[in-house]
């Protein structure tokens, strides 16, 4: 075991290395590229035994990943944003193939307008695909989650691909101290890849991913994917416990921070949740009993864990770094579905949208959200969903618009 300063991307590459992946189909995209560059260098220097191939698109990359996994090797791949969306047809496909490989997504906002900076609309577009999703808040968690993800994906009650998600820039390019498990211990934990009944061999021909006719077989296979995904909930904790015993770190399905005696809670995923923890500490110093809930697994959806943590709270704020156009925050909708109709749900479930395209959450915003919750409880009324945007941001935007207009005027031909 060694301790190093690693970026989120570096931690992801280490996760793949320690899982002894056989095959890495790749395609560059910011802010993910450092992962495949790192793995390529290790392979070129014979530090690891894997094989990497750069495909001509993410759509082909995911096809190759699924096909290789279906042939019987352990596969790792990585993408981000437009790449994930470009691959989306195959994301759904390979989940249906039941190919248990791991994909790291480095979250980045999606076009239009095109941007490099992070939010979660990319990964949430894969929400219904059959991929399991693990969302990380620290670089350590990225490395650890990749090792856990292989166990989960390859478990004989699951057999589904997994997306491990990290935020672009804030995590992908931020160095944090990371404990790197020693290779042997990691290999023992992850184990050898067992392709079970999958593979293409001359001695045992097989047809995979064939067409079905009629709704009977279609529904059957689709239900199977869903039920297998749900199995991951019960399987996960055994794996996380085993990980803790071996490496001393526990990564729960849902992280709770000071929620037990809390009246209020924030709900967030990924690395901005660490900012919420800081806000929780400050607010508690001022006497407000507030906590944080951070689901790590979004698929399968840990409804019971969320309900257990939030039942009895006076008010909950869901902070979404995504926007479902014409609806609102995706996470807010999901959390509501876990609470509605259950015993003792929080009467106030407020929605806040922020963090789009890398927009930061300021400490003041966390305090304002907390105050909004208190106010909502007093009035016994859920506040309208709020799109976070400050006057300063609006002024800066107006300035850009003024420049845009002026530039356009300059281009007009003289009258």
């Amino acid at each position: 075991m060694s301790r190093q300063l690693l970026t989120g991307n570096g931690a992801a590459a280490w996760g793949a290395r320690l899982a002894k992946v056989d095959y890495v189909p790749a395609f560059p995209i910011t802010p993910q590229t450092e992962i495949i560059e790192t793995i390529a260098e290790w392979i070129d220097n014979n530090e690891i035994a894997g094989r990497m191939v750069t495909l001509e698109s993410e759509h082909s990359m995911i096809t190759a990943a699924g096909a290789a996994s279906a042939t019987g090797v352990r596969v790792f791949t990585a993408t981000s944003s437009q790449g994930l969306l470009y691959a989306l047809e195959m994301i759904y496909n390979v989940a249906g193939w039941r190919t248990p490989f791991v994909l790291i997504n480095v979250s980045r906002g999606i076009s239009a307008p095109i941007t490099l900076e992070p939010d979660h609309n990319d990964v949430l577009a894969t929400r219904d695909s059959g991929f399991l999703q693990i969302h990380c808040a620290t670089c350590q968690e990225i490395l650890d989650s990749i090792l856990i993800a292989y166990r989960l994906a390859e478990h004989n009650r699951v057999r589904l691909p997994v997306i491990v998600n990290q935020d672009g820039f804030y995590l992908s390019f931020t160095r944090e101290p990371v404990e790197i498990p020693d290779a042997r211990s990691a290999a023992e934990f992850v184990g050898e890849y067992n392709s079970e009944n999958m593979g293409f061999r001359a001695s045992s021909p097989s047809s995979q991913a064939v067409a079905v006719l009629g709704s009977g077989p279609y529904s059957y296979f689709r239900y199977e994917i869903h039920l297998a995904s749900l199995q991951a909930l019960s399987v996960y904790d055994d794996i996380a416990q085993e990980f803790k015993e071996r490496f001393g770190r526990y990564h729960p399905i849902v992280e709770t921070y000071r929620t037990e005696d809390a009246d209020y809670a924030y709900v967030m995923i990924n690395c901005f949740a660490t900012k919420a923890k800081d806000a929780v500490d400050r607010l508690r110093e001022n006497g407000m009993k507030i906590g944080l809930l951070r689901p790590r697994l979004l698929r399968p959806f840990p409804a019971q864990h969320i309900l257990n943590a939030l039942a009895g709270k006076k008010a909950v704020a869901v902070l979404d770094q995504n926007l479902s156009m014409g609806k609102g925050g995706v996470l807010h909708t999901e959390i509501a579905s876990a609470l509605y109709g259950q015993p003792d749900p929080p009467p106030i479930l407020a929605s806040f949208i922020g963090g789009l395209g890398g927009r930061d959450f300021s400490a003041e915003e966390f305090y304002e959200i907390a105050a909004t919750l208190q106010d909502a409880v007093k009035q016994n009324k859920t506040p309208a969903p709020r799109l976070l945007y400050t006057e300063t941001e609006l002024r800066a935007m107006r300035k850009l618009q003024a420049i845009a207009h002026a530039e356009r005027e300059k281009l007009k031909p003289n009258k």
Binding site: P25, E56, T63, V73, Q208
Partner: protein, 285 residues
């Protein structure tokens, strides 16, 4: 499958030679419905991918088999030949980028495109493989398809893969020779098979072989191969028959002859064929 399918004719002939030590990666098209759960007519293996990425599926399987062989996790006897099977809709259009990438990477695979000159499985809409003037379900008027068939052979050859050839089921000996050639090569080996399609081209299914022969005899479907940096015509029709003999058999070209003969279009099609062969014969001299 439809009676008289020219694509199936080619596939039969090729499968007889390649045999069961194969794994096919398939793109969305007519042949996708060969393997429908829980049945398959293939003695070997099969993976359906998607319309755009069957060659990438071949890449994943080939790489995985190589890794398994290298690490001695499978026996050499268990190795398979990887074959991509797509229609022209995929090969000429949506899958072209994936094919280009596979050739760039020198993927050791065989690609068979059965070319029925349109999106056949959805009812024969025109594709970039559709010939000039053909009536399709998206070019229904008496003008037919205004464009000209894309030269996929030339596009593939421009990548300089190990082997490219055109084939047709109606010329089984030529096809068998080419399959034998590709068996002795490694790297990307690509075949375009013209697939006379009774349903899409509107002719009697019993005429499939006849239509195929005429495609060769009129010179509209040149049989050729690219190997060792050179293009060679494998069957040069000595006395080319007029193209109208080929066109007349097919309902998709009937508007060129009825209610009255459209000489300009027939001449245009004939002229393009003649120009092609003038160059070929000139080059061979």
């Amino acid at each position: 499958m439809c009676a008289g399918c020219g694509g199936l004719e080619i596939l039969h002939e090729i499968y007889d030679i390649l045999g069961a030590k194969t794994v096919f990666t398939n793109a969305a098209g007519c042949m996708t419905l060969l393997s429908v759960y829980p049945f398959t007519p293939f003695r070997g293996s099969w993976l359906y991918t998607a319309m755009a990425s069957a060659p990438a599926g071949a890449q994943g399987i080939r790489d995985a088999l190589d890794i398994l062989l290298e690490k001695k996790r499978i026996q050499p006897d268990d190795d398979l030949q990887v074959v991509t099977l797509t229609g022209d809709g995929s090969a000429y259009g949506m899958g072209l980028s994936a094919t280009s990438g596979a050739i760039d990477r020198d993927l050791d695979f065989l690609y068979l495109c059965y070319d029925n000159e349109g999106y056949g499985n959805t009812g024969q809409q025109y594709s970039s493989a559709t010939p000039h003037a053909a009536i399709t379900s998206t070019s229904r008027t008496s003008l037919g398809y205004p464009g000209f068939k894309k030269d996929l052979f030339a596009i593939w050859v421009a990548h300089k893969p190990a082997y490219v050839a055109t084939v047709i089921g109606a010329e089984p000996l030529d096809l068998a020779n080419k399959i034998e050639t590709v068996q002795g090569l490694r790297g990307p080996r690509l075949l375009i098979g013209l697939a006379p399609c009774p349903t899409g081209w509107d002719f009697d299914p019993k005429l499939t072989v006849e239509v195929g022969r005429l495609a060769v005899q009129t010179g509209i479907w040149p049989l050729k191969e690219f190997k060792d940096g050179r293009i060679r015509h494998t069957k040069i029709p000595k006395q080319r028959k007029p193209v109208e003999e080929y066109l007349k058999l097919q309902g998709r070209f009937r508007h060129l002859f009825e209610p009255e003969r459209v000489e300009t279009e027939i001449s245009l099609i004939q002229a393009r064929i003649d120009q092609y062969w003038d160059k070929v014969i000139g080059a061979d001299e």
